[in-house]
Amino acid sequence: MKKEISRRDLLKASGALVVCFSAASFPDSSAVAQEPFDTHPSHIDPEKLDSWLAVASDGTVTAYTGKCDFGQGMYTMQTQLVAEELCVSIAKVRLIQCDTSVTPDQGTTSGSQSTPTNFNTRNLAQAAATAREALAERAAQRLGVPADELTIENGVVSAKNGRHVSYGELIGGRHFDIPVSSTAERRLPSEWKVLGKSVPSMDRVGLMTGTFEFIHNVHVPGMVHGRIVRPPEIGATVANVDEKSVQHVPGLVKVVVRNNFVGVVAEKQWQAGQAAEDLKVTWKPGGELPVQKGFYDYLLKQPSREAMLVNSGDVDNKLKTSARVLKATYLHPYQAHGSIGSSCAVADVQADHATVWSATQSVYPTQHGLAALTRLPLDSVRVVFVRGPGCYGLNAADTVSYDAVLLSQAAHRPVRVQLTRQDEFVSENYGSACVIEQQAGLDASGTIAVWDCVTWSASLGGRPGYEKPGNVITGMLAGFAPEAPAPRRAAAPSGELRNGNNAVPSYVMGCVNGKCGGAGSIRSERVLTRTVRSPFLTGPLRSPLRLQNTFAHECFMDEISAYAKADPVAYRLQHLRETRLIDVVRAAARAATWDARPSPTNGTARGGTASGRGIACVAYEGDNGYAALVAELDVDQASGQVHAKRFVVAHDCGPISNPEGLRNQIEGGVLQGMSRALGEEITWDQHKVTSIDWQTYKTLPLGIRVPLIECVLIDRPAAKATGAGETAITLSVAAIGNAIFDATGARLREMPFTPDRVKAALSSRE
C-alpha cells in the first residue's frame, strides 16, 4: 500500500551502488551549453557507464533510462535493447525510468526522439554495447582466451574449451568504472535475437488485471487530497477568497492562495471536491476573447514572429509567369490532448526537501520548475515518474504536478491532486490553431514549377523546460510569465534546412545555402512561418504542427493533381526525389491496389452514399520516419457523415525494434488522427473555453465501425532508427480529406470535417 521509492531500496534491489551523487552543487544551467537532446548536465554523468547500467551478482541487469513509457511501448523496447546488446534474456533486465535521483537527464520524452536518442550510437544503446564488450574483455582475462573467441549466451561467457563465467561472477554488484565507449560495436540487426522481434508489451498482464500502478494509484502515508479552483474565465484574477465559505466542509485542511492560484486541501477526495465547489472566490474579469467565428481572420491580423525556412528568390516572378496559379487556405483548430484520465500528481513537500510523483514527460525540467515554485534548492527536489494515462504531448501532467507541490507546501502534508475533467480541459496546453496559405504555379505541361507557403500558428507558453514554469497554467497563475512569440521580421534562411515542423512541403528541393535537404524536386520555393500570440496556452500535441502542416500540404497537392487531371499517386511521385518517401508511397499504393486515375471519381450522384480513396505521405520532421497512408471511405451525402472503411499504411522507421508494437502505434495513430480529423475542436465564448467534457469535445468512442487497418512495414536494418509514434497520425487528416474529395468532388479545407462542414462543402460544389 505504501508508495515509497527509496533510493537505497532501489539500489539494494539492483545489486550495485551505481549512482554517483555529486557532492558539488549544481552548475548554473544558463552557463552550460545544452546537450543535443535539450538536456542540462545532471548529477548523473551520462558519460559514465555506471550511470546507465548495473549488473547484480545474480546476473540481473538494471538499466536506467531518461525516456519513459506512456503506453507507446518504450519500456518494452528499451528492455529489448538492453537485453539484445548484453546478450541476456528480457527476464534478466529491469528498467528504471525517469527519476531525478537515479536516471540520467535525457530531457523530455517527446517528439519521436526516444528511439533516435537511445537506439542508435549514443546513450542507452551505446552503454549496453560498452558493457558487453567490457564484460567480454574481463571474461577473456579470466578464462585466458582472446575475447573474440568467446561466445555469450544469456549472460554467460563461454570459451571453446567449455570453460565459462557469468556476468554476475565478473562484475556482480561492482562498478564498471569506465566511460561509455563511442566505439563499442552495436550488435548487427542480422544477429538480433531479442530486438526486431514482436515482444508483447511487458505491462500487459498488470494492465488487463487491474494491478498495474498508475500515478492515480500512488498512496503516500499521511496523504490528503487537493482540488484546484481555476479562474472561471481566461485571464481572470483573484480579487478575494472567502475562506469562511468552506469552514463547514468536514475534513478541510487548508485553503491555499498564491497570486491567482487557488486550491483546497481536505482529508478525503470527496471533501476536497466539495470545498472546491463551495469556495467563494471573487474574480476580476479577464477581458474578452477573440470571437471564435472569425478567429482565423483575427490570427492573420496579429503581429507575428517570422521565420523564412526556404526562399529560392524567384518565387514572385515564377508565379507571374506560370501557366496557372492555384491558391488555397487551410484551417486547423485548437485541439486537446484529452487524456482519458484527468491528470493527477502526488507531492510531499517538507521544509527542506520535496518528493513528487508525476506522470510528466520531463522529470528534470519539472524538477527545475518545482524548485522555482517551492524556492527549494534544486538538488533537494526529487521527481519520480509514475505512468499516467496516454498524454500525447503536454497534457496537464506537468501543471498538476505544480498544483500538488503548491498545495503540499502550504498544507505541510503530502497531497494528491486529482483534476476534474473540466479542470483538465481548461488546464492543458492545446495543440495550436493554424492558418496555412498555399499557392503553386504550374507550367504548361501541368508540372508544379513553384510552391509558396505561409503558415500561421498561435502560440503561448508550451513546455516549461528548465526555466519557464509560467508556460503551464499553474506556473502562470502563481506569478510566472508564459513565453510568448516576440514579433520579428524574417531574416534570410541560414544554416541548413530545418524542417522539424514539416512546414516545408515534401515536394520542394528545400535548398538553403546551396544545400538541398528537401524531399522533392520543385526548385522555386518559399516557406514563411508566422507565429502569433495565442489567447490560450498552447503546447505540443502529438505531431505538433507537423500534422497541421501536412494536412495543408497533402490536401493542396491533391488539389493541384486534380486540377492537372493527374492520378494523385503518380503526380506525387513525379515531384518527389527522396527514395524512402517514394518507396512508402509506392508500397501503400500497391498494398491498397490503388485505382490509378484522377480525382474526383467519375459519376458520383449528388446524393446517397459516395465512395472514394485518398492518399497522403510525409517525411516526418524531414528525416525522422517515412509513411504513406491510403484512406478508403464512404460519405453519406445526406447527413454529411464520413465512414472510413479501410486504411493502408506503409511505414519506414529504419530498423524495426518491435514489429507488433509498431503496428499498435500505427493503428492507434491512424484512428486518433481520424478522430482529430472528424470531430475534435476546442470551442469558446466571449470569456471562456466551452469544450469542457466529452459531450462538448467530440472524440470517437470505442463503439464505432472500426475501419480495417493494414500495415506494410518496411524494415531498413542498415539505416538509423527513427521515431515511429507520430508518423501515421500525421497523415490521417489529409488522407481523409482527399478521399472525401475523391468521393464527392467537395474539398474540405477547415478541420474538423464535421457533418455540417461536409454538407456545406457538398452544397457549394459547382
Partner: protein
C-alpha cells in the same frame, strides 16, 4: 459521515465516509484498488467501470450509500495476474491496449454485455461500447479481443 458496509471482489469492508461519496473514491482511496480509475467523474468515459449485479456501472457517479449490500466486482476482481479471467486473457493475447487506463470500461462493459447476451451481434457490441472511450485508439486490438472472448465462451 456514516459507517457503510460493502462487499468488493468477495471481501467485506466497512468504511466511515460521507454517504454521498462516489463509490470510485472509496474503491481507489480507501480500499486502494487500482482497477477502477478517475477518467471524467461524469460517467462519460468508462474508466471507473465496475460490475454490480451483472451490470457495468460507472462508479464515479454512484453514491456509496446506494451500493451497500451489493457485490461489487472491479477489474482486479475478475482474475489475477497468475490466473486471469478469460476476457482478460483475450486482451493479454491480443496485447489490446496502449496506455491501458481505459481498460476497466472496455473489459467490464464487454463482459457484462456478453454474459447477458453471449450471441450479441457486432451492432450490439458497438452499441454497448458507444460511450466507452479509449483515447490511444487501440480499437482494432480491443475489438479483436472482445470477439475472441465471445467465440471462446460460446
Amino acid at each position: 459521515m456514516a459507517a457503510i458496509s460493502l462487499k468488493v471482489n468477495g471481501h467485506d469492508y466497512r468504511v466511515d465516509v460521507d454517504p454521498e461519496t462516489p463509490l470510485l473514491y472509496v474503491l481507489s482511496d480507501d480500499l486502494q484498488l487500482r482497477g477502477p480509475k478517475f477518467g471524467c467523474g461524469l460517467a462519460q468515459c468508462g474508466a471507473c467501470t465496475v460490475i454490480m449485479q451483472g451490470q457495468a456501472v460507472r462508479s464515479c457517479v454512484m453514491p456509496i450509500s446506494a451500493v451497500e449490500e451489493i457485490e461489487v466486482t472491479t477489474l482486479e476482481g475478475l482474475g489475477t495476474p497468475e490466473k486471469p479471467h478469460a476476457i482478460q486473457q483475450a486482451f493479454i493475447d491480443e496485447d489490446a491496449a496502449q496506455c491501458g487506463f481505459c481498460l476497466s470500461g472496455v473489459i467490464l462493459t464487454s463482459k457484462a454485455l456478453l454474459d447477458e447476451n453471449p450471441k450479441a451481434s457486432d451492432e450490439q457490441i458497438r452499441d454497448a461500447l458507444s460511450n466507452v472511450l479509449c483515447r490511444c485508439f487501440a480499437h482494432t486490438r480491443m475489438l479483436r479481443a472482445i470477439k475472441a472472448y465471445q467465440r471462446n465462451r460460446a
